[in-house]
Symmetry: C2
Subunit: 332 residues, 2 copies
DNA sequence: ATATCTTATACTCAATTAGAGTATAAATGG
DNA sequence: CCATTTATACTCTAATTGAGTATAAGATAT
């Protein structure tokens, strides 16, 4: 048997906690302040002696940092590569981060905690296409084309163009590709963190960083590319939102974000907020009704103007995640 | 900042390495022997000082244990709960396992390595429905109904029945629910590991184990429920195969398991082997041809009897994972 | 009361896709 | 020539999707 030694590994648990209020998708962050330069996701170290499972560890940390009791929690990805967290690595430690996605109902934050809600489009301004294609998407696209032009040879240039096409969709805008877009923008040094990370490391290590832009210093604030976060927290956030968008399409996750009783428009608004696109109302309705996941309560919602809407509940019978594929592709 | 201490955590990397040969889906395992009671997945501890990334660490271990250079590798899930690995936990260590799925082309194993290929239906005999519904599926189903009857009250009994329905499909058999089925069988103590784990722990801890069968000792070999593996390796395997099945449906992963040039039947056979179901040949063909992922080479395959088949290659242009949803639901 | 605004809901229609099957083609070994 | 095997083309129907139009039922302004 091989000798196990892992004294130089630090395991941390990070949470992307999402809720939607007033058509705004929000996540919980711990703001920057004092000596902290960047805001960060709620997180804490995993300690086996106090936590029976990883998930319980995560919940305990989130509770202690934000006051929230998490319900629906899903593990996402474990990050462990080099060049993620300078402060740890300088001490010879490797940071291993297990990331989680959590969905909760909107609610306030007690004054005891230094956490706050923030619209996640503040971090990805190019992602919100609900009213119209986000302006910053086109600006970033221009910058990406410049970046493609800067490639050292023809093959590399074509490869960059192809990735740009895939990410920003010659044909259709695909909300699920959020992470792919983020990583492309990072590599093109259009994301603040890319430049920050590049500058932080000694010269001889720089080539190993995942930026291959020839002049990474040229990111200035002329392009709106969102608020940076600590370490690679924005990447973790991107992977979480990308996953959430994808999963929403084939699993009944929306109900985690809805009250006991809700109207069909409420569901649609939440899905649209998360996906950043507008949907065809009548078809969305048809899909929901045929899906068999919800049932009418008989009650009416009269809080909004216009004709009152039926209130629905979701069928409790579906404890199991229903595998029913539900798609809502009809754009508006 | 909170004090980080993780001297009591052991991080290991485990691989589920899949290839398909002669319509048999196989995984690489390290057989039991000497003082090892159970076979296990190839794995090794993560050591930050030698591995830049988790994935490189995994590849290095796999190379050293089996001689294989992995190509396509995908991270799956990180397991870290208590009661996973008695040997570690007795020493006060918590085992954290990051699991990976790898796909490779079929090839032999050099005599230098003590690894071997094994059909994965040996571990999940109830999962192969290609020729007909697996016989063991129905036998296990009967046992599960007994288990449901043993529930302490009516509500619990109904909940069990519902889960059984969902897993073994009143309506349709869903290959993707492999993990769900495995966990149900484990809980009903129809999986050898369940009984092993239950017996291994001191009495006062037993209630916390995820088995709530009233008499777990009654698993005998009267039901064929597959070969057990070390620790929770069979659970890891179940999650890997479940994920592979699901992902195969909407991502072009099959090509990792195919040679440069292939016939359409070869693709179909691989998909059928992995999914454990039979598909409608003509419709499968139509789907592949309309998908735009493959192109004809002009050459013919004459190695099999019958009319020769066209040889295809997959379009190299698609570096990016194509998001094209390809479904093959037409059963035979 | 009536017009107007707003949202909900019902219904239509064409285009596409899925599921299942029939028919024919091109090879092989007797 | 035959049967046998696999490949491939084509048909047909039922669903599903994407995009509309039409109508209903409230609140509010005039």
């Amino acid at each position: 048997m091989v000798e196990f030694s892992s004294n130089d590994i630090v395991v941390s648990l990070s949470a992307v906690i999402v809720s939607v209020e007033n058509n705004r998708p929000r996540i919980l962050i711990l703001p920057s302040g004092d000596n902290k330069e960047y805001a960060s996701l709620p997180s804490g170290p995993y300690s086996p002696e106090s936590h029976r499972t990883l998930e319980l560890g995560l919940k305990a940390w989130v509770k202690s940092r934000t006051g929230f009791d998490l319900g629906y929690v899903e593990q996402l990805y474990t990050f462990g590569n080099l060049f993620r967290s300078q402060t740890f690595e300088e001490k010879g430690l490797r940071l291993l981060t297990i990331s989680y996605l959590a969905l909760i109902l909107p609610s306030g934050i007690s004054g005891d905690y230094n956490a706050c809600w923030q619209n996640y489009y503040d971090f990805f301004p190019w992602e919100d296409h609900r009213k119209e294609r986000a302006a910053s998407a086109d600006k970033l696209l221009e910058e990406l084309y410049d970046w493609a032009d800067e490639a050292s040879d023809r093959v590399r240039r074509l490869e960059r163009l192809e990735r740009i096409q895939f990410a920003f969709g010659g044909g259709r805008w695909d909300p699920d590709r959020l992470l792919f877009r983020y990583e492309l923008l990072y590599e093109a040094a259009l994301i603040t963190e890319a430049v920050r990370d590049w500058n932080a490391w000694p010269k001889e290590e720089r080539v190993k960083l995942p930026i291959n832009r020839d002049n990474p210093g040229r990111l200035t604030c002329k392009v709106e590319s969102g608020i940076p976060l600590m370490y690679d927290d924005r990447r973790i956030l991107a992977s979480a939102i990308g996953r959430l968008r994808g999963k929403l399409r084939y699993r009944p996750l929306v109900f985690e974000l809805l009250p006991e009783k809700f109207t069909l428009l409420q569901i649609q608004n939440i899905v649209e907020a998360i996906d950043g696109v507008s949907l065809h109302k009548q078809n969305f309705r048809r899909l929901l009704l045929s899906g068999g996941l919800i049932k009418e309560t008989g009650e009416m919602d009269r809080t909004s103007p216009g004709r009152p809407a039926s209130l629905f509940t979701f069928r409790q019978s579906i404890h199991m995640e229903r595998q029913n594929v539900q798609t809502w592709n009809g754009r508006n």
